[in-house]
């Protein structure tokens, strides 16, 4: 068995998950994990599947494209070996949030600072709906800060990036949000 990751993108409508999972079943694949999201009206999903030995990346892509014809979906298949994730240094989970006016470059500026410190973004949600209403423009980065990173230095650099962009920025350990909101 080899492993593949399949991305599916298209206009949202009922039945996409059903069609894709049926096509994967018909191709002999076993779904190991799925993550699906909706961004405005766009459907996006990643499937990690185990492929039968006799199926390769190109053949699976061909099968899926044929099976999903008419649904107007972009499907990409990538084979990748199981356990390929690189080992990372021990890190603490933090949440970086920003509020402020929408303008080009704010995601790049904040994520640029994170990248410089080797801070891995594990989840990013950004909502820009408020124009100049800062409370309605929010970015929520869930990140892993390696133990070797100085939190004070990271915070200072994030704060100065935020200040240049007129953003209010907070960096808080994730445990606070979990413990306050979950039983």
């Amino acid at each position: 068995m080899t492993q593949a990751v399949i991305s599916v993108l298209g206009e949202d409508r009922p039945g996409i998950i059903a069609a894709v999972s049926q096509a994967l079943l018909d191709a002999g694949c076993n779904i190991r994990s799925v993550s699906q999201t909706l961004l405005q009206a766009v459907f996006g999903a990643l499937f990690v599947v185990a492929m039968p030995d006799e199926v390769d990346e190109a053949a699976l892509a061909h099968t899926l494209t044929a099976a999903l014809e008419g649904l107007d979906l972009d499907v990409i298949v990538h084979a990748y070996p199981a356990g390929a994730a690189a080992s990372r240094p021990h890190a603490e989970p933090f949440v970086v949030t920003t509020h402020g006016p929408d303008r080009p470059g704010i995601v790049a500026a904040v994520s640029g600072v994170l990248a410089r410190y080797g801070v891995n973004v594990t989840d990013l949600q950004a909502v820009f709906e408020g124009g100049d209403r800062p409370e309605a423009n929010a970015m929520i980065f869930q990140v892993d800060v390696p133990d070797s990173v100085s939190l004070a230095a990271l915070k200072a650099d994030l704060a100065s990036a935020a200040e240049r962009l007129g953003l209010e920025l907070n960096v808080q350990h994730r445990r606070l949000f979990e413990i306050m909101n979950r039983i």
Binding site: T122, Q142, L151, F177
Partner: protein, 457 residues
Amino acid sequence: MLGKQEVISTLEMLKYEHLDLRTVTLGISLLDCASDDVRVFTARARQRIETLAAALVTTCDRLGATYGVPVVNKRIAVSPIALVGAPFTAAEMVEVARALDTAAGNVGVDFVGGFSALVEKGMAAGDRALIDAVPEALATTSRVCASINVATTRAGINMDAVLRMGETVKATAEHTAGDDGLGAAKLVVFANIPEDIPFMAGAYLGVGEGDAVINVGVSGPGVVKRAIERAIEAEPGIDLGRLSEVIKQTAFKVTRAGELIGREVAQALGVTFGVVDLSLAPTPTRGDSVGEIFRSLGLASIGAPGSTAVLAMLNDAVKKGGAFASSYVGGLSGAFIPVSEDLEIAAAAARGDLSIEKLEAMTSVCSVGLDMIALPGDTSAEALAALIADEMAIGVINRKTTAARLIPVPGKTAGEHARFGGLLGEATIMALPHGSGGNAFVRFGGRVPAPIQSLVN
């Protein structure tokens, strides 16, 4: 992964609703510092405090920054000084207070509690010396807080101690006449005092506690007020059962935040974690007021008819939410109604919407008592004692903590203004009917017997 709403609602509490960790209080036992030589005792006590609390402020600030939750106050509570300093004279007790003040200043905390005596059944030599020392001790220190427990449900009310405290409150205010009687704002008289209060001025480390313990006081009247307002906006026709539920859920969240940081501070300092005291403790800041909650729940003002019922519901819901959030909830846990420390309560008192009689009624269901009430300077010691006795009776009969923190403002009369500064706030002086005359009742002395525990009607 966290949901967007989980992140945003927590941030709103911190940013707009004044959620913070009101106090992290390090309790320090001084029992084994005892000596009959005051110099030996004060040297040992200072060393103990300055060693154990050396990293308290920096640890709280570091963990507060990690979670983005400000730890507003860092404080120390010590064993009752009347007990550990039992051999000392009143003058020596003042020296002890000054040593505590110095130690507290050296470790950077704003208050140290425990200049305390437990005299609900009788007064020993150390208790008498400490109470005699209170006026000078509180006038010549800035950080020391005193608390005297004069009544319990099991012992009854020590009326000799109550009268003495009436005199002591009066003398303490007079010793700080230039500051509107500020000394009396650092002196509380209790019934059924808990051993683990982190809030001042009532914090001390109980004799049943260990060497050192972290107790935290979480607040959040602004968070509760906004949660109530949001629920009323979102749910037309919402009833009080649902509103209680909203308050419970809010109290749960606030308690969890406090316990998280309290436990981490305790771990970092290598001491035991004690309790979370979930109290709606206001500050003199708009949006951080218990009084404003009464308006959110439909009353024209705190003090209007319905106020006792609102407070009863609020206090109970806060306790229920807190008790579910943490297995170690203690201290006072409920709603505070300190007049000068709460902008809206102080304003209601100034407008005449809130009388001292209504406040007293409300204390039968709140978590403390007659708190931070500025009274005319000519209030007699006997009238103060009688008012304290009333408040103690409410606690003793209802098996709850009650307290009196009364400030007879020297040279001022009802309607004039008193300023205590900082978190202690400011208030209009309230009228106390029959306040300037004698009171033969409190002169009878002796002990009001402990109440019957059956036939409860």
